[in-house]
C-alpha cells in the first residue's frame, strides 16, 4: 500500500515516543504554526562552543510533524552549526523532491524514512514544521544557517 511509504515504521515509533519533547526550557523560544491545520510547535535550543545543545520542543500535530520534529532533534543535537546546516539543507531538498530522490542516509539517518512524504505535497509542510522552527531558533541564537 502506497500509504506505507508515507507512514514508515520509524515514523510511527518516533510519533509514539518522540525524542526531545517536553516543555522547552531555554531562554529563546520560537513558536511556529501550520495555519492550514493548526499544528503548533514551540522550540528552544542553545549554542555552546559552536554546537547545538539543550534542544527541546513541545507541540501538537499529526504523526508526520511530530515524528519529523523528533528525528530533527536527534539529528541536530550535538552538531556544529555547519553540520546542522548541511542536514537541514539535505532534508529540505528531500522534502521538495516529489519522490524523485531517496535521501542521503549518511547525513539524514532516520530522516530518510520521511522520503515518502515528498510524494504527498500537502504533508510536506507537516514534515518541515519542526525544522523551520529549528532554523528560526538557530538564527535567533546567532547561527548563520
Amino acid at each position: 500500500m502506497e500509504l506505507d511509504s508515507l507512514y514508515q515504521e520509524v515514523i510511527l515509533d518516533h510519533y509514539k515516543k518522540p525524542h526531545h519533547k517536553g516543555l522547552p526550557a531555554g531562554e529563546i523560544q520560537v513558536h511556529h504554526v501550520n495555519p492550514n491545520c493548526g499544528d503548533e510547535i514551540t522550540l528552544s535550543l542553545e549554542i555552546k562552543d559552536g554546537v547545538f545543545v539543550d534542544l527541546t520542543w513541545d507541540g501538537v500535530g499529526c504523526s508526520i510533524s511530530q515524528a519529523s520534529a523528533s528525528i530533527m532533534g536527534d539529528l541536530v543535537s550535538g552538531k556544529t552549526v555547519a553540520q546542522a546546516a548541511e542536514v537541514l539543507r539535505e532534508f529540505t531538498e528531500l522534502m521538495q523532491s516529489k519522490g524523485n530522490i531517496l535521501g542521503n542516509e549518511e547525513v539524514l539517518e532516520d530522516a530518510i524514512a520521511l522520503a515518502g512524504v515528498s510524494k504527498f505535497p500537502a504533508r510536506v509542510k507537516c514534515a518541515l514544521l519542526g525544522w523551520m522552527a529549528f532554523k528560526d531558533a538557530a538564527i535567533q541564537n546567532g547561527a548563520e544557517i
Binding site: 500500500m1 502506497e2 500509504l3 508515507l6 507512514y7 515504521e9 510511527l12 492550514n36 491545520c37 493548526g38 499544528d39 503548533e40 501538537v60 500535530g61 499529526c62 504523526s63 508526520i64 504527498f120 504533508r123 507537516c126
Partner: protein, 416 residues
C-alpha cells in the same frame, strides 16, 4: 424504496467522477462544504459565453456587447429569482469573502446609520468561519467599535441566554452564519434577528452553507444582507453574491472604485451609479456570473427541497454508521435536527491529518483541520476534526465507502 434523487443520473453530469484517485480508486467526494464539483451544464454555459458572447458588458454598443450584457443580466435575474428578491439587490463579487469585506469596508466609509465608529458594537458568534469573523474583528479594531459574540455550546448551538448583554442599543451590525461549516449545526436565528431589529441594527446572514443546500426565502428570514459563494453551489470559482435590501444598498458607500460604477468623474471628485453597479467596479467576472446562473438552474431543476431531504438522509445514515464505530466521536449535533449535511468527527488517539490521509487511500475526499473556524475548534477543546459534507451527487454507496475508510484509518494506526 425509490430514492428522493436520481443520483446515478446526476453523477453522470459531473465529469470529475470519471477520474481515478490514488490507487485507482473512484472518487468519493465529501468536501462540498469547501467547494462543490461542477456539472457539465455549468462548464458549457461558461464556454458558451466565451465562444458566442464575450465582450465587456455595459460598455460597448456593438452586437457582442449587447449579447454579453443580456446573458449577464439574465444571470442576475436568475440569482434574484432563486432567492426571491429583486435583481437590483444582487451584487456580484468574487466570493462570499469579498462580499463580507465589502460590507465591512462600506460601513467604515459610511455615514449616519450606515457608519461604524467608536462606541458602536458589532456582534458575531463563535461559530463563524474566518470570513465572517475577521472582516468585523478588524473593522472594530480600525474604527474603535467593540466586537461582541454569542458563545457556542458543545452541540454547536448558540447560547442565547446572554442575548440582552450581547445585543444592546449600541449594536449596529449582527453577522452570523446560517449553518456552521464545521459542525453542520444550524443556530436559532429568529430570536437573534428579532433582537437585532429591535435595537435598530442590521443583520448579515452568511449563507455559504445554506443557499446551495436548501430552499431559501431571504425576505422571510428577515435578514438585511446575505452572502454566498458560487463555487459551493455548483457554480464556477471566482464568483460570489451579496444580497442587500435595495434602500440600504443605495445609501451605502462603494467598496471598489473604478470603471462602470460611476455616474460622473473629474480629477477631484466623482459620483456613483445606483446599486448594484456602484459595487461592481471594473470589467466583471462575466463568464463566472453566467456559469452561476446555469448552476442555479441546475439546482432548481433538481429541486432544493429534494436536495435538502436527500442530504439529511445521507447524514442520518452516516451518523448512524459513525456512531457504531468504536473510537469515533461525532462532534457537534448528534442527530439531524437543526443541522445540515456536514459531519465533523474525531478518532481517539489519531490526528485528523493522519485520518484524512488514510481515507484518501480509499478515494475519499474529506477535509481535516480547523476548517477556517479556529475559535470554534478551540472552544471544543480540539486542534482539528475530520469533516465529511454531502451534496446532491453523493449516495449511500459513498457513505458506505466513507465508513469503511474511517474504520480503515482507525485500524491502520491502531494495529501498528
Amino acid at each position: 424504496m425509490s430514492s428522493i434523487l436520481d443520483v446515478a443520473t446526476i453523477k453522470r453530469d459531473f465529469p470529475i467522477f470519471n477520474e481515478e484517485m490514488r490507487g485507482g480508486k473512484r472518487l468519493v467526494f465529501l468536501d462540498s462544504a469547501a467547494t462543490s464539483q461542477k456539472p457539465i451544464q455549468v462548464l458549457d454555459a461558461e464556454r458558451n459565453f466565451y465562444t458566442t458572447s464575450n465582450a465587456a458588458v455595459h460598455r460597448g454598443s456593438y452586437y457582442l456587447a449587447e449579447r454579453a450584457s443580456e446573458v449577464f443580466e439574465n444571470s442576475r435575474q436568475k440569482v434574484a429569482d432563486f432567492l426571491g428578491v429583486a435583481p437590483e439587490e444582487i451584487v456580484f463579487t468574487k466570493s462570499a469573502t469579498e462580499s463580507l469585506n465589502l460590507l465591512a469596508v462600506s460601513f467604515e466609509r459610511g455615514t449616519g446609520s450606515l457608519a461604524i465608529g467608536p462606541g458602536d458594537e458589532i456582534v458575531v458568534s463563535e461559530l463563524e468561519h474566518h470570513a465572517n469573523l475577521l472582516p468585523w474583528q478588524q473593522l472594530a479594531k480600525r474604527t474603535g467599535a467593540t466586537l461582541k459574540w454569542f458563545e457556542m455550546e458543545q452541540d454547536g448551538s448558540l447560547d442565547l441566554s446572554a442575548m440582552d448583554r450581547v445585543i444592546t442599543s449600541k449594536c449596529k451590525i449582527v453577522a452570523i452564519t446560517h449553518q456552521s461549516n464545521v459542525l453542520g449545526s444550524v443556530p436559532d436565528l429568529a430570536p437573534i434577528i428579532a433582537a437585532t431589529h429591535a435595537v435598530g441594527a442590521l443583520f448579515v446572514l452568511d449563507a455559504c452553507q445554506s443557499v446551495p443546500h436548501q430552499p431559501i426565502d431571504v425576505r422571510a428570514l428577515g435578514a438585511d444582507f446575505m452572502v454566498f459563494s458560487g463555487h459551493k453551489a455548483l457554480g464556477p470559482t471566482g464568483v460570489g453574491v451579496l444580497w442587500g435590501r435595495a434602500e440600504i444598498l443605495n445609501a451605502m458607500e462603494p467598496f471598489l472604485y473604478g470603471g462602470s460604477m460611476i455616474e460622473t468623474v473629474t480629477m477631484t471628485g466623482a459620483t456613483w451609479a445606483p446599486a448594484p453597479k456602484k459595487f461592481e467596479a471594473g470589467v466583471p467576472n462575466m463568464a463566472q456570473v453566467v456559469g452561476l446562473g446555469a448552476a442555479l438552474d441546475y439546482l432548481s431543476n433538481v429541486g432544493m427541497a429534494n436536495i435538502h431531504l436527500w442530504e439529511l438522509e445521507l447524514t442520518q445514515y452516516a451518523l448512524d454508521g459513525l456512531k457504531a464505530i468504536e473510537g469515533v466521536r461525532v462532534v457537534g449535533p448528534q442527530g439531524i435536527i437543526d443541522r445540515g449535511g456536514v459531519i465533523s468527527f474525531t478518532i481517539a488517539g489519531l490526528h485528523p491529518h493522519d485520518v484524512g490521509q488514510v481515507m484518501d487511500q480509499y478515494g475519499v475526499a474529506v477535509r481535516t483541520g480547523h476548517h477556517c473556524a479556529w475559535p470554534l475548534i478551540r472552544k471544543l477543546g480540539l486542534t482539528g476534526t475530520t469533516r465529511a459534507s454531502f451534496y446532491l451527487y453523493n449516495d449511500f454507496s459513498d457513505v458506505d465507502i466513507f465508513l469503511e475508510s474511517v474504520v480503515g484509518a482507525r485500524d491502520y494506526f491502531g494495529k501498528r
